[in-house]
């Protein structure tokens, strides 16, 4: 009897821990994805927009490939129930309303994928001005999501 209770408690604790881990994993994975994304967008911004004299075609292609890879990686699967609260690498800034705004969120993701794929194509042509213009469109999709479901500090 006592043993059964201990097992039940232990199982309960294990399940909770596993679930918490899952939520925390999702938050950490998506935060890492955006961090990696930021490294690559910063490169494109620096080389195509701010200092076109430093434009390095190969680096920009590599960065645009990475941006497209992140966009196409199915990021929305990292936004499971309960992931509006969690510590992650740092406290998540996902608004609880995220879960009620699924149509808009999915539309933004589709636009993000479309523009990131286009950026990848444009980068292959190696024209800084073209890259800059398309990079702006990608940035606008980032902003549309931030404005919609990201908590302002």
């Amino acid at each position: 009897m006592k043993l059964k209770l201990i097992i039940a408690l232990a199982l309960g604790a294990a399940t909770t821990a596993a679930m918490a881990g899952e939520v925390e994993d999702q938050i950490r994975f998506r935060q890492s994805a955006y961090s990696f994304l930021g490294w690559n967008t910063a490169k494109i911004k620096a080389q195509a927009a701010d200092h076109p004299e430093t434009f390095n075609k190969d680096q920009v292609i590599a960065a645009a490939n990475a941006v497209a890879a992140v966009a196409n990686s199915g990021l929305l699967s990292l936004y499971g129930p309960g992931t509006d609260k969690g510590t992650g690498w740092k406290a998540t800034r996902l608004k609880p309303e995220f879960f009620e705004k699924q149509d808009e969120v999915k539309e933004i993701e589709a636009t993000f994928i479309k523009e990131a794929n286009e950026l990848q194509k444009v980068a292959a042509n190696g024209d800084p001005a073209e890259v800059k213009a398309q990079f702006g469109k990608v940035g606008a999709t980032c902003k549309s999501c931030h404005d919609l479901i990201r908590v302002r500090e």
Binding site: A49, A133, F135, G136, C142, R152, E153
Partner: protein, 236 residues
């Protein structure tokens, strides 16, 4: 019996309309994002320069441009509420709106200098502070926009009401600098703008904007940043 009197000097009027253009531009580009963010920074810089100009002009400009001439002191407000206030420049209620507008625009400009959008924008002074503080200031920047919109709505509504109810053309006055005033107030027209004062004020405003972008201020503020990161990681 009314007389037309020159009240607003031309730098003040130029300030006002440039500010209108810059604020509308900054708001629109801020909302749209993308590559227009570059223009958001440019409009913001123009606002910074205009605010510095206005602040100095508020002390050395012509009579009605000076803060002391229209500052809503307690006694002026009491007079105004009783309906006894008499003056030719900004009335005390308008003065509150103007000071509030200048204050919230200052908050927006200063926070914008340190802001980032986690996409592709970093304000010219971003590197002078910690990312965490920049994130916080960026949040305030966005929040302050709501206050600005409220104040602009009050300001524009008041101007429209003056036109409709009191038949006072405030827009015209801000364009021509001239107001129709009762002769009983016996206002004397303002003195001409001193070219030396104007040039000095303009130079200071341009220098501040240039300084912000030159990176000089970042260097000046750098000890602040290292102090912050040192206190954030006491072990390092």
């Amino acid at each position: 019996m009314k007389v037309e009197v020159h009240i607003w000097d031309w730098p003040l009027r130029l300030f006002h309309w440039l500010l209108v253009i810059a604020v509308v531009g900054a708001y629109a580009t801020g909302k749209l994002g993308g590559n227009l963010t570059d223009w958001h920074a440019r409009f913001g810089s123009l606002i910074l320069g205009l605010l510095v100009f206005r602040l100095i002009w508020g002390f050395i400009g012509t009579t009605h441009a000076r803060f002391t001439s229209f500052f809503p002191t307690f006694s002026r407000l009491v007079e105004y509420v009783k309906g006894e206030w008499q003056g030719v420049g900004h009335n005390p209620a308008g003065a509150i709106a103007i000071i509030a507008l200048l204050a919230v625009l200052s908050v927006l400009t200063v926070t914008g200098l340190f802001a980032n959008d986690d996409i592709a924008f970093e304000g010219p002074l971003f590197h002078a502070i910690d990312k965490e503080l920049s994130d916080k200031l960026s949040g305030w920047h966005i929040f302050a926009v709501n206050i600005l919109l409220g104040l602009v709505a009050v300001h524009v509504t008041a101007v429209v009401l003056y036109q409709r109810l009191k038949k006072t053309n405030l827009v015209g006055a801000m364009l021509t600098g001239k107001k129709q005033l009762p002769r009983s107030l016996a206002p004397s027209p303002i003195k001409p703008v001193g070219p030396f004062r104007f040039v000095i004020t303009l130079l200071i405003a341009v220098t501040v904007v240039w300084g912000v972008w030159s990176g000089g201020f970042v260097e000046y503020l750098a000890p602040l940043a290292s102090f912050q990161s040192a206190s954030a990681n006491p072990k390092s």
